[in-house]
């Protein structure tokens, strides 16, 4: 077994190239992506280049790999990315720092091992940022143009688990049951993305990360409430369904107005209508 452990946050094409240069002489026949989304995406990206050659930019979009790819096992240590449930590697161009989604069904992980004990040691800030990321995955995948019965079922179940457990893991980091629900929620949200993609909050967040270095979870959390307001005339009912799913108490007179306010800070989060 050979270990490549030099993956930074928001891996770039240069990081994938370094991983490939490390792995190629080892003649590996199985990849294990262990860590957060950056580690798993870098491993997935390396799989493209190890098996199909070329450079990461060649695989932007869906289904560009023509040759078989190596089997991969994902072992997430955060509860946010959902990469373990997806066939996409999100890799930033090393020159422009813009993120590219490179997907292929062959890149999907054969196995995802969800062990909540691996997430207990996350710092509070990482728990918050990754948890918010997972919640935005559930919200955005629930309302996209590509939404369908399967993606909405996955997103709604993800949202239910995440909304129930997020505050608990912030206050009680060692609560293994809540950690497990967060991990499963993040996985299901990732599976929802696989079926219906994401929306404007992620499109707006990625340039913030590229230009200002804003942490991904913070960037999507910052933009999500504004995107909800932007979309509410088209999908207010869907946002309302998520609020109901979460079990939040709603005032009927506000129900038709959609979500207007989402406040996140280091201690708590809240969503209100009106």
């Amino acid at each position: 077994m050979s270990v490549f452990d030099s993956v930074p946050e928001n891996p770039t094409t240069a990081d994938v190239d370094r991983c490939v240069a490390f792995a190629k002489p080892e003649s590996i026949d199985l990849i294990i992506g262990l860590g957060g989304g950056s580690s798993m995406d870098c491993a997935k990206g390396a799989n493209f280049l190890l098996t199909n050659g070329g450079r990461m930019q060649d695989y932007r979009g869906i289904g560009k790999a023509t040759l078989p790819m190596l089997p991969m096992i994902a072992v997430p240590t955060t509860s946010g990315t959902g990469s373990e449930a997806q066939s996409f590697a999100v890799i930033a161009d090393a020159e422009t720092h813009m993120k590219m989604a490179c997907g292929d069904p062959k890149a999907a992980c054969r196995i995802a091992l969800l062990d909540p004990e691996l997430t207990v040691s996350m710092p509070r800030s990482v728990t918050a940022a990754t948890g918010i990321d997972a919640m935005t995955h559930a919200i955005e995948s629930y309302v996209t143009k590509k939404r369908n019965t399967i993606s909405q079922m996955l997103a709604r179940q993800a949202w239910s688990l995440l909304a129930e457990s997020f505050a608990i893991v912030l206050e009680s980091p060692a609560n293994i049951e809540a950690r497990g629900r967060m991990q499963l929620g993040a996985f299901l949200a990732g599976a929802a993305i696989e079926n219906s993609m994401l929306g404007a909050a992620h499109a707006a967040a990625n340039p913030l990360t590229a230009m200002f270095g804003t942490t991904h979870g913070a960037a999507v959390g910052l933009m999500m409430p504004h995107v909800i307001r932007w979309n509410r005339e088209r999908v207010a009912d869907s946002y309302f369904e998520l609020a109901l799913t979460a079990g939040w108490i709603l005032r009927t007179r506000l129900a038709t107005k959609g979500l207007r306010f989402w406040q996140l800070d280091s201690r708590s989060y809240s969503i209100s209508l009106g």
């Binding site: 979009g61 813009m98 993120k99 989604a101 918050a128 940022a129 918010i132 955005e140 309302v143 996209t144 143009k145 590509k146 219906s196 993609m197 994401l198 929306g199 404007a200 992620h202 499109a203 707006a204 990625n206 340039p207 913030l208 590229a210 230009m211 200002f212 804003t214 913070a218 960037a219 959390g221 910052l222 933009m223 409430p225 504004h226 995107v227 307001r229 932007w230 979309n231 005339e233 088209r234 999908v235 989402w262 406040q263 996140l264 800070d265 280091s266």
Partner: protein, 51 residues
């Protein structure tokens, strides 16, 4: 966690930066799946709302 863009960046954001952010956001593939169509002008307004 910061809830406003200017807090997150820790300084005021220039108009040319907002326009650049909007231009780059409009090139992001994920934006095409948003339920409301997103143009560069839409993203520019979205960023201004977030400030």
């Amino acid at each position: 966690m910061k809830t406003q863009l200017k807090q997150s960046v820790d300084r005021s954001i220039r108009d040319d930066e907002i326009r650049q952010l909007a231009a780059e956001a409009s090139l992001q593939w994920t934006g095409t799946f948003n339920p409301a169509p997103m143009t560069p002008a839409c993203f520019e307004q979205l960023y201004r709302n977030a400030i």
